[in-house]
Subunit: 406 residues, 2 copies
Amino acid sequence: MILCLCFEYNCAWIEHSSEIQGIAMKIGLLGHGVVGSGVAEIIDSGRSAEVKDLRVEKMLVRTRQEVTEARITTEVSEILNDPEIEVIAECMGGLEPAHTYVKTALEYGKSVVSSNKKMLAAYYSELMEIAEKNHVMLRMEAAVGGGIPCMENLMRIRRIEPIDSFRGIFNGTTNYILSAMKEEQKEFDEMLKGAQAAGYAERNPGDDIDGFDVRYKVALTCAQAFDALVDPSDIPTFGIRNIHSEDLLHAEERNRTIKLIGWAEDHGDSVMAMVMPVFVKDSDYLSRIPCNLNGIESFSRTLGKAGFVGQGAGSLPTAHAVVQDLIDVSEGRKEVSRNLKKKTVNCRDRKGVYYIRTKQPEVFAEVVAEKLDQNCLITEQVEWKKLEGLLNQAADPDLFLAEVQA
Amino acid sequence: MILCLCFEYNCAWIEHSSEIQGIAMKIGLLGHGVVGSGVAEIIDSGRSAEVKDLRVEKMLVRTRQEVTEARITTEVSEILNDPEIEVIAECMGGLEPAHTYVKTALEYGKSVVSSNKKMLAAYYSELMEIAEKNHVMLRMEAAVGGGIPCMENLMRIRRIEPIDSFRGIFNGTTNYILSAMKEEQKEFDEMLKGAQAAGYAERNPGDDIDGFDVRYKVALTCAQAFDALVDPSDIPTFGIRNIHSEDLLHAEERNRTIKLIGWAEDHGDSVMAMVMPVFVKDSDYLSRIPCNLNGIESFSRTLGKAGFVGQGAGSLPTAHAVVQDLIDVSEGRKEVSRNLKKKTVNCRDRKGVYYIRTKQPEVFAEVVAEKLDQNCLITEQVEWKKLEGLLNQAADPDLFLAEVQA
Ligand SMILES: NC(=O)c1ccc[n+]([C@@H]2O[C@H](COP(=O)([O-])OP(=O)(O)OC[C@H]3O[C@@H](n4cnc5c(N)ncnc54)[C@H](OP(=O)(O)O)[C@@H]3O)[C@@H](O)[C@H]2O)c1
Ligand SMILES: NC(=O)c1ccc[n+]([C@@H]2O[C@H](COP(=O)([O-])OP(=O)(O)OC[C@H]3O[C@@H](n4cnc5c(N)ncnc54)[C@H](OP(=O)(O)O)[C@@H]3O)[C@@H](O)[C@H]2O)c1
């Protein structure tokens, strides 16, 4: 709690600060899984003055068996109704009840930090509006790029200038699989099983391998970078479910490495945004982001390229990002003034060269630049609206598509 | 100026803020060269609310001929003695008079932002002490990594945990030369001339190509990351002046790319820090940092690797970093509590494998693992104290040394 009398000075940005010597900011933690337990571990071990100013007051779990200490509860109301709890850290995942809990917390005047990209992407504008109305913060560093401080750094750049575009490797699971396929020259299914065994992929990996996880993150990054509210389902999204080792070889022949890339450009009234495997040039450092690491970069007029590389997932790195947000809430970090606007996603005029493997190569005859073998081809430069039509026409469920980096 | 009455709250961190609606923070700019003119351009063009809260009030130039507008002066006293100027941005370069001007400004209660790594590395502890005593800020984002926000992000990590080590490409000029040598397969002298013509290298490029520029930056980063005050001249430093194209070929045969790397580890009472060309593995993304870009990464317990890539130099990117610091001063950015300590540099026990090209290969006979040709060899794993002795014994002014990344 802050006790501060200010005149001729707008104190809004420090009103949530708990940073008075000795009084720690009390946090309600929703979810005690991979990320949540990491958050508790980092805060409980208090390795800095800033972290010692935080306290996990209560933690929500699902079942009685998980109640192993006094702070743990199965009753969310004990957390949301506790007036001493200033901030909620939501690390439960899923749409509901996460969305309702976060919404309620904001309405009760609590700031919220969340790692839940799926929920945030679905309810971004609703939640931001409630946060603003209640003069509390909604922060989400961990939701994009895991431990990588990209959300904060994008906001810092925006203190000086608009961000024109961004691109990057946003998903650790698929990057792990692609790296392992390249290194061990094995097929996708085997590598997916390996990733699951190593704890890098979930039992139900659809969101990751079909590109939806990247889609959520690209949508959130459009909001962070451009103030653009886009409908995630409008972002053309292709994953790596259909990849074969021969696709990697075709990339290699062109001195390229396949990475699952999300990218977006702010076009004013609309946004160009896509999620797709890309034949990344071997001279591009994104081609060398290994294992489950992520690499995200933005472009703006004076700074140019600003790239960030690090752990895109994992308990402690992701929890680190959650705790960074919590410290920012505790310090009453001044936020950049925003002007959130609904924008359509428009990729129709985007030109690209594509690699396609399909059982229906004849459908793409009019755009072929090079036939690699019976099923694999490279297109000439083609507009997305044209290619999209052909993809729909082919309607090949096993088709693999990748953009070839120019 | 801030007018703020606070009780039960430590307001030190906001006392320099000028962020009252409508009153811009007045800045005195020392130097109007490559970086200084970029700072003026970014602030004058005011592309954000935050930048509009800044105003370049006066600019120092050397000669009358350069006085082309009312804000420009040749009299430093007009700036240092102006009580309305709250912050100095020093972009002059050189040791003196930059050092005296910065010291005076701090003593007069002005915060200082500087891009001058050479001066900052030489006077770091003196200047930090004066800044602290006078409750003003001394920030230096642009001094390390140009536009890359590494200094700020290191401090953010330290809000949670100590930083254990860092490494990176800290110099754009040498990276440009090394990239061009590899791509165009030409010799060093020719590429240096090319870099000078392209504006990437100074007329007197000694600080860059002999590694001293990286040494200053490593020393400053040791202070930022570890709170370690080290004597820059104690850091073993090797540059690329003696590099030949055959060295690049020897690296290529090992699937490695030569980069000039600075690195350091915090060992508690001492610091292990070095500056040296390294045969970087082609699978490491630092091997793919092109042209004049820089790439710097830190390692800490929970976050793991945190890498930053961007423009290591250039007028607008470097100026962007200066302006970021100015906004942080204007917003009264809370600083991490520091505990600066003198630490010795100790690399004696550091073990490495090295590539050596020398006219005195016989000196290294006892540590050779592989002879590549008459003059080139790869050592076995050897302690630095051992190798240093042999290097002194060889006393070969044309020797080229590089660590081979394990
Ligand atoms: N893991 C990562 O590396 C990572 C990285 C970035 C972002 N994220 C995001 O962070 C969030 C959490 O991920 P995670 O990996 O930590 O998942 P997790 O290990 O499954 O943890 C979530 C925890 O929340 C609990 N929970 C869910 N609904 C609950 C409810 N209604 N009441 C009480 N407890 C409930 C779960 O219990 P049950 O097991 O009983 O369902 C589980 O213990 C997700 O949104 C994820 O996308 C994760
Ligand atoms: N250029 C980059 O990309 C870059 C990147 C990172 C950091 N930096 C650092 O930033 C600093 C400035 O670099 P820069 O490239 O902008 O150098 P620069 O182009 O030479 O600009 C320095 C300016 O300061 C002026 N100056 C020097 N001493 C002066 C004095 N006593 N009185 C008045 N004016 C004086 C110089 O005038 P004269 O020409 O008459 O001497 C020159 O116009 C250096 O410390 C450099 O290491 C530069």
